[in-house]
Amino acid sequence: MDGASTSQILQYLITGITIGSIYAMVAIGFNIIYNVTDIINFAQGEFVMLGGMSMVLFHVILGIPIIIAFLFTIILVTLVGLIVDRFAIRPIRQPSVLTLIIATIAVSILLKGIAMFAWGKDPLDLPAFSGRTPIQLFGAVIQPQYLWVIGLLVVTVLILTFFFEKTIIGKAMRACADNPDAASLVGINVKKMIMLSFSLSAGIGAIAGIVITPISLMEYDRGAMLAIKGFSAVILGGLGSFPGAIVGGLLIGIIESLGAGLISSGYKDAFALIVLLGVLFFKPSGLLGNIEISKIKRF
């Protein structure tokens, strides 16, 4: 291990938190769908990819102002989420967990293929929202776009909290999550809630995609990597738990970043997974997960 200065460690943390925020956003998307349907949607990463690519299309290629392009992108990807549910998930007649997983994998392959046709194979770039002049902080630097990433995560979490706690639809979705049969008995349209969950998590994926593209560029096949990181975050935090998703995402981002900075960058992806395995062996339901939730469903 190399000796690292405080400003270096600060830099590792800043980068880790930023990347972790993206993982957290992907993880929240996983959880929204999981809570209503028990499905892990492996196409979640493709929603993020589509978010970034559509934003490039609207803002850079078509020249639409950033705010409107932002809205267009979210609407477009939300629609994709809706279509995915309507034409890929709902028609499955005897859903077992493995069948549903394969269906979402099929969707992710399809979306990837379509994106390759629509946007080509080269990475695309999006201008940063507020320029690229870095901010100095105790010897570390912060790209303005980092603040956008973290800020949008906070805003997303606040809006979601309000939605699930205060609105009727949000409460209905939570009821579906707790017990779909009981929910449909009290007159909640479970099918609509599932559709809503897909749209909602597609929309959140799109936000993640839009905000990360100025940092990392975006190309058609980036979805899988983001999905794996998001899924790791979900499991680390505990399936179905929103605070867990945030904690899990941030932790994985920070571990990767510190692991790369302090130990070995070649093995950095392995560190987060080793920590994850360690946590699971001691606490099989993740850090903040409910042991009951982790028991349901066989394959």
Binding site: I92, S108, I109, F117, A224, L280, R298
Partner: protein, 319 residues
């Protein structure tokens, strides 16, 4: 074994034996035997994995790693240390059983998606090691110089010879697994699939059975890995990555996960789709592949082995 089953196994054996002879008469299908060799290698994995997934109701995204460990053990020990290939194959199986035990013992306590994640993490870590340990594995570019196999004095140096060798092993693994399913172990597994709590109330040592099946399936994957390395004489990490782990799941789900036949059909079909038939669609390959997967999951919930049942039902209704 049941009479009807014997008949079917007989037909299966006949099909396997006659395949290369038929193919060799059709020049346009010249490389089908070659593809069948890979299909056979993948079938060895899916037979074990289907026992673990379909019968025991578990999930694993780590079998690509066992396949890889088998392949790399054979590759490294033969190419770098000149050890006899058969010895390496056995060493590979031994190493994989130990690793499967060490990974399985704590992981198999996990349920559902947590188990999926744990095995996925294991798979990715192994993949990273293959990439990073350049000195032994050759890194991402892979390693060459892996010799072919010979059976006593007979060199398995032609596609046809290797075909019969691989499918002979598939057949043996298949019969062994069928026997296992019909034994006490198989009944215990089905009980575990139905309800772990009930199974354990009936006095079934649930963790032990799960672990046995996990190790058994890992051994088959390792065996397949050794066969792969000696056939293609080259290995690199991307043949054992996450996408391959997912492909194995797709094979099992597509074929029909509640039947060992499904594992065979799925592996053969996906291999041919990926390595041959989808070429027909050129750049649209990916989209067609996704669409096929989706349509099968929607319309054939029992996988491809469910087709005859559907047809039968349809015919009955018409009559």
């Amino acid at each position: 074994m049941l009479k009807i089953q014997k008949l079917h196994i007989g037909i299966f054996a006949f099909f396997i034996i006659s395949f290369p002879f038929v193919i060799s008469r059709i020049p346009a299908l010249g490389n089908y035997t070659n593809i069948m060799v890979f299909a056979g290698i993948y079938t060895i994995i899916t037979i074990g994995l289907s026992l673990f997934i379909g019968y025991a109701g578990q999930i694993s995204l780590g079998h690509a790693a066992f396949f890889g460990i088998g392949a790399y053990t054979s590759g490294i020990l033969t190419a770098r240390f000149g050890i006899n290939p058969w010895m390496c194959l056995i060493i590979g199986i031994f190493i994989v059983s130990v690793i499967a035990f060490l990974v399985g013992a704590p992981s198999l306590k996990l349920k559902g998606h947590y188990l999926a994640m744990a095995t996925l993490a294991f798979g990715i870590i192994v993949y990273i090691i293959f990439n990073q340990e350049l000195e032994y594995t050759g890194g991402p570019d892979g390693m060459t110089g892996i010799p072919g196999l010979s059976l006593f004095a007979l060199k398995l140096n032609s596609v046809e010879k290797y075909y019969f060798f691989v499918w002979g092993i598939v057949f043996a693994a298949f019969l062994f697994t069928i026997n296992l399913i019909q034994s006490r172990t198989g009944r215990a597994l089905r009980a575990i699939h139905a309800s772990e709590a009930a199974a354990s109330a009936m006095g079934i040592n649930v963790p032990r059975f799960k672990l046995i099946v996990f190790i058994y399936s890992a051994i088959l994957a390792s065996l397949a890995g050794s066969l792969y390395a000696h056939y293609i004489n080259f290995i690199n990490p991307s043949s054992f990555d996450l996408f391959f782990a997912i492909k194995l799941l797709i094979m099992i789900a597509l074929g029909g996960m509640h039947s060992i036949w499904g594992a065979i059909v799925g592996a053969v079909l996906i291999t041919f789709l990926n390595y041959e038939w989808l070429h027909f669609f050129k750049e649209f390959e990916v989209i067609i592949y996704g669409a096929i997967l989706l349509l099968v999951t929607i319309f054939l919930p029992d996988g491809l082995v469910g087709i005859p049942g559907i047809i039968k039902k349809f015919v009955k209704r018409k009559l």
